[in-house]
């Protein structure tokens, strides 16, 4: 697999429909750049050739330009091709085909967003979702299920198996949120009152992505305290007194003590990898905690996914 990099252009792409999204974006940009460069060269040429100078006079009447008409027709045609060839059919297929045709191996998940957390709700072994009611909501039963032991509910951690169609019913219970996994080119608003199905299929597991990802140098500062996402240290750090603060390969979460220790040891940047490098972000402004409304996405193997569900059921 290609190395997974972050920044400056498309992020890595681990979904089946992603390449067509990227391709369309590329094509539109080819068109845009061609037009822009064409205009730009023509404009610069005009500015130089027709600058005001002694002896040069403006022409009242111009030779007939056919070029502009051709250019406009060409733009319209290219847009038509992009529209009819890409956008409409591919969009229709990724938005509609699967939830309707019953794929036997599909995984159905419900995603419920709230300020500021994501809940992922999987049916238990019976394959049915329990009835839920807002009146039953309490910390131990965040979705208000009739019998919380019969379904699996995960908060801020989204597991699903690789190479299988995943159907997610996205909704929100307070304000509008945006369900967005940039690495999978998946995005949809979570609108209260609507339960909207979207689907996608992953092509790489979390472990493969992790292996292909280059480590990042994370700036150490007080802002890290309280972050929930687990990291894996790529270098060992010794505290000021010589004891091991972090060993290479350690899985850890930034806590107050750790950050203090790192700062005390004079560490400004730390080489780490995210344990779950695929992230789910909120795309719609949803309040003060909007930017922190993050969930980890884990693309599992079948065994990992089964273990995950079993673990959630056991609780």
């Amino acid at each position: 697999m290609d190395p997974v990099k972050f920044g400056y252009w498309f992020p890595a792409d681990v979904s089946t429909h992603g390449p067509s999204v990227d391709l369309l974006i590329d094509y539109v940009h080819y068109l845009a750049v061609a037009l822009f460069v064409g205009w730009g060269i023509f404009m610069l040429y005009c500015l130089i050739r027709f600058r005001q100078r002694p002896g040069h006079k403006a022409q009242y009447e111009l030779p007939h330009f056919k070029g502009s008409k051709y250019a406009e027709v060409a733009v319209a045609l290219i847009e038509l091709v992009l529209l009819l060839g890409f956008s409409i059919p591919v969009w229709a297929s990724i938005r509609y085909e699967l939830p309707r045709t019953d794929a036997p191996d599909k995984v159905v998940v419900r995603c419920i967003a709230e300020q500021f957390a994501w809940y992922f709700w999987y049916p238990g072994p019976d394959g049915e979702f329990e009835p839920a009611s807002a009146d039953r909501i309490k910390p131990s039963n965040p979705l208000g299920l009739r019998d919380p032991s019969r379904d699996a509910v995960s908060k801020d951690e989204f597991h699903f198996p690789v190479n299988r169609p995943i159907v997610v019913y996205v909704t929100s219970r307070d304000v509008i949120h945006g369900f967005n996994i940039p690495l999978m080119r998946v995005k949809h608003d979570a609108v209260p009152g609507l339960n909207i199905p979207i689907w996608f299929q992953a092509t790489k597991t979390n472990d493969e992505i992790f292996a292909a990802m280059s480590p990042e140098r994370l700036r150490i500062g007080p802002a890290l305290v309280g972050r929930k996402e687990p990291y894996i240290a790529m270098e060992a750090v010794k505290a000021a007194d010589g004891s091991d603060l972090l060993k290479s390969g350690d899985t850890f979460v930034f806590g107050e003590a750790l950050v203090k220790g790192l700062t005390g040891a004079g560490v400004q940047e730390l080489s780490v990898k995210l344990k779950f490098p695929v992230e789910l972000a909120c795309a719609q402004l949803c309040g003060n905690g909007h930017s922190g409304m993050r969930a980890a996405v884990s693309i599992d193997t079948e065994e990992q996914f089964a273990a995950f569900i079993a673990g959630k059921m056991a609780k």
């Binding site: 005009c46 500015l47 005001q52 111009l62 502009s68 529209l83 938005r95 795309a283």
Partner: protein, 610 residues
């Protein structure tokens, strides 16, 4: 000739002056009914709001460049107070207030009032040879209603909980459950909408009814056409937002549920338990009503800018605009289509395939007239004798900047590519290219261009260059990186983008954007100096310093009350530059055919000062 003049007697000016009676300072400059004074009022107020909105953004940029680090100056943190900036670090809620109010202020209190209120008010009656707007009292009222709206918006920063913080789009239910500031925002918007409605009625009537004799619709300068289309957009697109504002006020004040679906759970408690709300509304209804306005609003922002650029390009290439009629038809078509594309802002809300196909098709169609307008303007350069005056530099910069803004709209208008780019920094880059390096550059061009008409003096060229070049470069170094940030998948409205690994990847770009933004503020200093200094100390110029053809240059500078000393009569189209067989290179619209053929560049004779 003046005796049979259907537009007024030779004494129109005196009569007009007599009409307003009072000449005290208060009535002459504060509650003036003269379109020129009102235009200047709009302009100054709009520039102040523009500056204020810019300041809000500079604050935001600190948090984005240096997430969670205290502000560099303790006095600033102290000024903001402990609620807004505890320990000098901007608070997330305050950051959202800054974001929401930056958008609102820039669009509704800054750019539109300058583009329409200031330039439209000042220039349109002059360009059509009218003594004033059709309804001077209404004109005054629309300024003061706008002013009140602005004061309400500013005051909302000081109410408990601060200003509106749900984005300039104010999507419910977030805005429904937001603090009091949102109610102030809604009331302020109702004022601003009312002001726009009054103004647009005035503009349309003025342009339709009060053109000078001989000034047929297809002899109107393109700027007037742009203002006419804009006025229709304001007239017919704003009321739905007013309706939406009323509905949200009902929701917030009287507890209705227009935008609240049943079964909401806020903070893990059923919302009905805490508020007794009934439910049954639709969260997306607001988006429909909002975007029904806000998409045409994009063209309200851009059309007057195109009008300004067209005037300046024609004047500084010393030749007629290429495809004048095509430009006019394209502008009308653009205005018309802008009413039926709005839901491309809502592709990610669960829209079905039929409607999304409809809206992406109309969106692709609307790109055609934009391409035509831009192409016409660029082709107009061909065969000219191009003067690189300061207004022309800004106008020329507008063309590629608007092109970038327009072209980057294409991937957002197609559902499939919108899938990745929706709600990311790409969107921010896109519409800022249209509005900031696009429209605002055109507004600067307009200020430099019409300044001699307003004051009788030119702005300094040296300071103009010092303003233009850094502004052009910095505008690009602010907004170009945003496309790359958006491509990387970074969502907009993020208080702290370093929460995400893909956000950390583009954090250096964020730093670059912030520094460019702060430097852009510095780059405006020459403009501010120029603007105020030239008022009294600028180079004195004659009534038509740019040797232009349109009617505003037939009036004295500054034009007196009632505008024209002799009422103009129009004999030709708006851009008769370099007409073959004439010695001068311009032929004003009002020059009589016989005197024009004599080719006196400074024709017609303008009576001595008053």
């Amino acid at each position: 000739m003046t005796d049979t003049h259907p537009n007024g007697s030779p004494g129109a000016r005196e009569a007009h002056g007599g009409g307003h009676g009072e000449t005290s300072f208060l009535w002459k400059y504060v509650f003036s009914q003269d379109h020129k004074v009102i235009g200047i009022q709009y302009g100054i107020t709009g520039l102040c709001f523009l500056f204020f909105g810019f300041t809000l953004m500079m604050l935001m940029r600190w948090q984005l460049a240096y997430p969670n680090q205290p502000l560099p100056w303790p006095w600033l943190a102290e000024l903001l107070g402990n609620i807004r900036a505890p320990g000098g670090v901007l608070e997330a809620g305050f950051y959202n207030q800054l974001g929401a109010m930056h958008g609102t202020i820039m669009v509704f209190l800054g750019v539109v009032p300058i583009a329409v209120g200031a330039f439209g008010n000042y220039v349109v009656p002059l360009q059509i040879g009218a003594p004033d707007m059709a309804f001077p009292k209404l004109n005054m009222a629309s300024y003061w209603v706008y002013f009140c709206g602005g004061v309400i918006m500013l005051a909302s920063f000081f109410v408990p909980g601060g200003a509106a913080s749900s984005g300039w789009t104010s999507y419910p239910p977030l805005s429904n459950i937001a603090t009091q500031g949102q109610t102030w925002w809604l009331v302020g918007m109702v004022f601003l909408i009312t002001s726009s409605l009054l103004g647009s009625v005035n503009f349309i009537v003025t342009i339709v009814q009060m053109r000078a004799p001989g000034l047929s619709m297809f002899r109107l300068p393109f700027f007037v056409w742009a203002q006419l289309v804009t006025a229709f957009l304001l007239l017919l697109a704003f009321p739905p937002l007013e309706a939406a504002g009323v509905l949200q006020l009902m929701d917030r004040v009287f507890g209705t549920s227009f935008f609240l679906p049943s079964g909401l759970v806020v903070n893990a408690i059923p919302y009905a338990q805490t508020t007794g709300y009934s439910g049954g509304g639709s969260a997306l209804l607001w988006q429909h009503l909002f975007w029904f306005l806000a998409h045409p609003e994009v063209y309200v922002l851009i059309l007057p800018a195109m009008g300004i650029v067209a005037e300046i390009v024609a004047n500084n290439t010393r030749k007629p605009l290429w495809g004048y009629r095509l430009l006019v038809y394209a502008a009308i078509f653009l205005g018309f289509m802008s009413f039926i594309v709005w839901a491309h802002h809502m592709f990610m809300t669960g829209m079905g395939t039929v409607m999304s196909t409809f809206f992406q098709t109309t969106t692709m169609i609307i790109s055609i007239p934009s391409v035509i307008i831009l192409t016409c303007m660029i082709l107009s350069l061909w065969g000219g004798s191009i003067r690189f005056s300061i207004p022309m530099l800004f106008a020329l910069a507008f063309l590629p900047m608007f092109a970038i803004g327009g072209l980057t709209g294409l991937p957002l208008g197609l559902t499939l590519s919108d899938l990745h780019l929706h709600d990311t920094y790409y969107v921010i880059g896109h519409f800022h290219y249209v509005v900031a390096p696009g429209t605002i550059m055109a507004l600067f061009a307009g200020i430099y261009y019409w300044y001699p008409k307003v004051t009788g003096r030119k702005m300094s060229g040296l300071l103009g260059h010092l303003h233009f070049w850094p502004t052009l470069i910095l505008m690009n170094s602010i907004f170009m990186p945003m496309f790359f940030m958006g491509m990387a998948g970074l969502n907009r409205r993020m208080y702290d983008q370093t929460v995400y690994v893909h956000g950390r990847g583009v954090q250096p770009l964020s730093l670059m954007v912030s520094w460019s933004a702060w430097m852009l503020a510095v780059a405006q200093i020459p403009f501010i100096i120029n603007f105020f200094k030239s008022w009294k100390a600028g180079e004195k110029v004659n009534d038509n310093p740019w040797e232009a053809t349109t009617l505003e240059w037939a009036a004295p500078s500054p034009p007196p009350h009632g505008n024209f000393t002799t009422l103009p009569e129009v004999h030709r189209g708006p851009y008769e530059y370099s007409v073959p067989g004439q010695s001068g290179d311009f032929c004003p619209q009002h020059a009589r055919p016989d005197s024009a053929s004599e080719g006196t560049p400074s024709a017609p004779p303008v009576p001595a000062a008053h």
